[in-house]
């Protein structure tokens, strides 16, 4: 185990980044930070350690940034964090390359600040003009407004102008085309008015428009950044490297990309197998649940082939590499994943769908107003142009620009408060359309661990013996038994031998005893055990025997994820059909389905067949939500119209999913669908409000009644109405009941397995 610790340290040290001023920066994700007390506790404990230059907690992102003088000082920091109860995961600087998104967000925020300043000041001057300033005073005020507005529009409007240009070059229209046109035309027209001493100037409208729209843009960007950051901070330090056995037998920790076929690697218990290979020496039990969906541990001995992503549970094994990392099993799944994600690119966000109708309509209306007034007024192009600009400004692009982002930010905040992270803004829209949910079994409907469901009566002496054997093994079944017998005394022995794939053997009080596979235990037990003919019908079976005595049997079941039953009945209320697609064997899947009352079930599925099943459902017109966790689920997660994964999922599964729920309860699924549907209703409501407003404002504008004052009031009022409507998502009462249920995050006693008392 000492060697395993060394490899962990090497992995930790590789996440550090040298700072230009000297010292090394490390960033940890510390999910258990939750209050002000945690901040001072962590900062006090870490900053007093030797070699630590600074330690600063970020409560919003639940991160700790540490600067140390020399690399090795960080090991002490990580150990200290674990000791004081804040287990931390180092974040690779590659992952933190959020600089791009951050830069975008802060440049939007700067543009918004500048536009806000200009809007305030120009409005101040405009109010004086509206309330009766005229003659040279009005001209002076217009001139000052122009001097503020021109540089501000050039600076703050860039993001819209660029996007509009980009769309026009591609021969498309987006929302930014009418916005840019309105702002630029209004600015040019007002400048002309100012220089010729005219009465009406639209400087305030142009700048206020930019200000409101930038608020919407910033919110959109901010939400995407936060979603991405929270998922990055979840990603654990999975096999980013491996322990290589050199020719002279020395162990060296090497990064994943230098591993080549024919190298020898050592994989310690508790580590994931980094690349495909065959076992040279040693034996172990492998947890392939993330790879295949099978829940039972698979024994592996020398000569067996193993896939990347498998978890090594009980023994240390030496591996001969057969494929490089980018040819391994994982990368095949990655390729399927990419193909599936390209397929989903077809989804058009509701805002873009609106824009594709809205932009041409606005342009046609403005053009019609211009030509109409040109004819009516007998060639007064100045009058006609002013009215056309009023139409462009008043058609409510601000309410349109705020209608979607505000709802999504509010929705994402509600989800975040309930432990659900959203990775993509359009995910909320896609989730609202769902009518069919596909669940994976292992790791999704069930938790990773097992619990004991039936066992024979035990004498106090046997309880202590079994406890002693079980607590000396890291196999999940042993852990479950040790947990059940937690009151029994541990006899203590030093002759424990763990035989991977079979069980544990020890000698206590001079008697050999075994706990493990029934056939292996029967070798030492009294012959003619009547129970040995009984077929292992349910779950995994284990037995225990002293040499020459009758064996005792245990049955184990996977623990069901808490809230599964409630989640399914909530889904039923939402008129959503449910099915299970599992890679596990038919029997455990059927058992689980019967218990939960799910009719549509398929077992023994491969990644490709799961993917095909989802495509079939979609071809039949269903909108599918995939809920899964494994590497084998990743392609289906990407193929589903929307997807969710628990935080315990494989890295690749989590990256493929739109939503990640960090609490144990499966009730996150109906809750998120409820929020998504509420958000969808509000977005549609907002668009309805915007259209209603346009039905009133556009005829007025086309009739020539919209002065700069009316435009300013109408624009602000419509934006406030839309934002107010969106905030209703914060207090949707039907959803509150769910969120209260979610606050209780402890996995309640497993609905599926009988609670195990210590009464035996």
């Amino acid at each position: 185990m000492g060697q395993a610790a060394v490899s962990q340290h090497d992995a930790l040290l590789q996440t550090g980044a040298a700072l230009p001023k000297g010292g090394f920066e490390f960033i940890f994700s510390v999910p258990s930070i939750h209050c002000g007390g945690c901040i001072s506790k962590i900062e006090r404990a870490v900053s007093t350690l030797p070699g630590v230059n600074s330690a600063r907690v970020n409560l919003t992102l639940k991160r700790l940034r540490v600067v140390v003088g020399s690399l090795r000082d960080i090991i002490e920091v990580e150990e200290t964090l674990t000791r004081i109860g804040f287990p931390a995961t180092p974040i690779e600087h590659g992952d933190v390359s959020e600089a791009d998104g951050d830069k975008k967000a802060s440049s939007l925020l700067r543009a918004m600040g500048v536009a806000g300043f200009a809007a305030g000041n120009i409005m101040l001057l405009s109010v004086s003009v509206w309330s009766g300033a005229d003659g040279p005073t009005r001209d002076l005020f217009h001139l000052i407004s122009a001097l503020i507005a021109i540089p501000v529009v050039i600076y703050s409007g860039q993001v819209f102008f660029r996007s509009a240009l980009y769309a026009l070059r591609g021969g498309r229209l987006n929302m930014d085309v009418p916005i840019s046109l309105a702002v630029l035309l209004a600015l040019g027209m007002s400048l002309f008015e100012t220089l010729t001493g005219g009465a009406d100037a639209y400087f305030d409208a142009a700048v206020t428009l930019l200000f409101f729209l930038l608020i919407g843009r910033y919110l959109d960007q901010h939400m995407r950044d936060r979603a991405r950051k929270s998922v990055v901070s979840l990603s654990r330090l999975s096999a980013k490297g491996a322990t290589r056995i050199e020719a002279d037998g020395k162990l060296v920790y090497v990064p994943l990309d230098v591993i080549a076929p024919d190298m020898q690697l050592r994989v310690f218990p508790g580590d994931r197998i980094p690349v495909d290979g065959t076992i040279l020496r040693g034996g172990s039990d492998l947890d392939r649940s993330l790879v295949t969906g099978e829940s039972a541990l698979v024994p592996a001995v020398a000569g067996d082939a193993v896939e990347a992503g498998t978890l090594n549970v009980t023994g240390s094994i030496d591996l001969l590499v057969t494929k490089t990392a980018d040819q391994s099993f994982l990368s095949e799944v990655m390729k399927m994943l990419e193909a599936a994600e390209n397929g989903r690119g077809g989804y058009v966000r509701i805002a873009d769908r609106m824009a594709s109708i809205y932009a041409p309509a606005v342009h046609l209306l403005a053009l019609a107003a211009f030509i109409g007034w040109l004819i009516i007024s007998g060639g007064d192009w100045h009058r006609a142009l002013t009215i056309a600009i009023a139409v462009l400004i008043v058609t409510c692009p601000c309410a349109m620009g705020l209608a979607v982002p505000v709802v999504h930010v509010v929705g994402a905040t509600r989800l975040f408060q309930n432990g659900i992270l959203m990775r993509d803004g359009s995910a909320l829209e896609r989730l609202a359309e769902i009518d069919h949910v596909v669940f994976d079994k292992t790791g999704t409907l069930t938790m990773g661990d097992a619990s004991v469901t039936s066992f024979a009566e035990l004498s106090g002496r046997d309880r202590a013996r079994i406890k002693t054997l079980a607590s000396n093994s890291s196999h999940p079944a042993s852990k479950a038994i040790a947990h059940m017998l937690k009151d029994a005394p541990d006899l203590g022995t030093d002759s424990v031998l763990e035989k991977p794939g079979y069980g544990v053997e020890a000698s206590i009080d001079g008697t050999v005893m075994r706990l493990g596979r029934p056939d292996w235990v029967a070798e030492i037990a009294a012959p003619g055990d009547p129970a040995s003919s009984e077929t292992a019908s349910q779950g995994h079976r284990l037995s225990f025997a002293r040499s020459g005595a009758r064996p005792v049997r245990f049955a184990l079941e996977e623990t069901m994820r808490s809230g599964a039953q409630d989640a399914l009945s909530a889904l039923q209320q939402q008129h959503i059909s449910v099915e299970i697609l599992s890679g596990d064997g038919a029997e455990p899947v059927q058992l689980m389905a019967q218990h939960l009352g799910i009719d549509t079930v398929s077992a023994g599925e491969t990644p490709a067949s799961k993917f095909a099943r989802i495509k079939d459902l979609q071809a039949a017109g269903h909108k599918v939500l995939m809920v899964g966790d494994g590497i084998n689920d990743a392609p289906s997660l990407a193929a589903g119209n929307a997807s969710m994964a628990p935080a315990s999922a494989s890295d690749i599964g989590r990256q493929a999913a739109d939503f990640v729920f960090t609490r144990d309860s499966l009730e996150a699924v109906p809750f998120a669908i409820g929020i998504a549907r509420g958000a969808g209703r509000l977005v549609r409501g907002n668009f309805a409000l915007a259209i209603l407003y346009n039905c009133i404002a556009v005829p007025l504008a086309m009739a020539g009644y919209v002065t700069p004052l009316v435009a300013a009031i109408a624009m602000s009022a419509s934006s406030i109405v839309v934002v107010g409507n969106s905030l209703r998502l914060l207090g949707t009462s039907g959803l509150r009941a769910h969120s209260d249920a979610l606050v209780n995050t402890r996995p309640s006693s497993t609905g599926f397995t009988k609670p195990v008392g210590a009464k035996a």
Binding site: G36, S40, T60, L109, R110, F117, G120, N121, T137
Partner: protein
């Protein structure tokens, strides 16, 4: 009218001051951890007795 010669620069100056303060707070990273800032107010640095 004469008053305007003072008042307009004063109004603009105050606006610029606000804008400057906003840009400064942005640059010094004061929006990076809003929740932490709220919690730190309540933390007094003294060790408990």
């Amino acid at each position: 009218m004469n008053l305007l010669i003072f008042l307009i620069p004063v109004a603009l100056g105050l606006g610029l001051l606000g804008l400057g303060a906003f840009l400064w707070s942005l640059k010094t990273g004061q929006y990076e951890d809003p929740e932490g800032a709220a919690a730190r107010i309540l933390d007094n640095d003294d060790e408990p007795l």
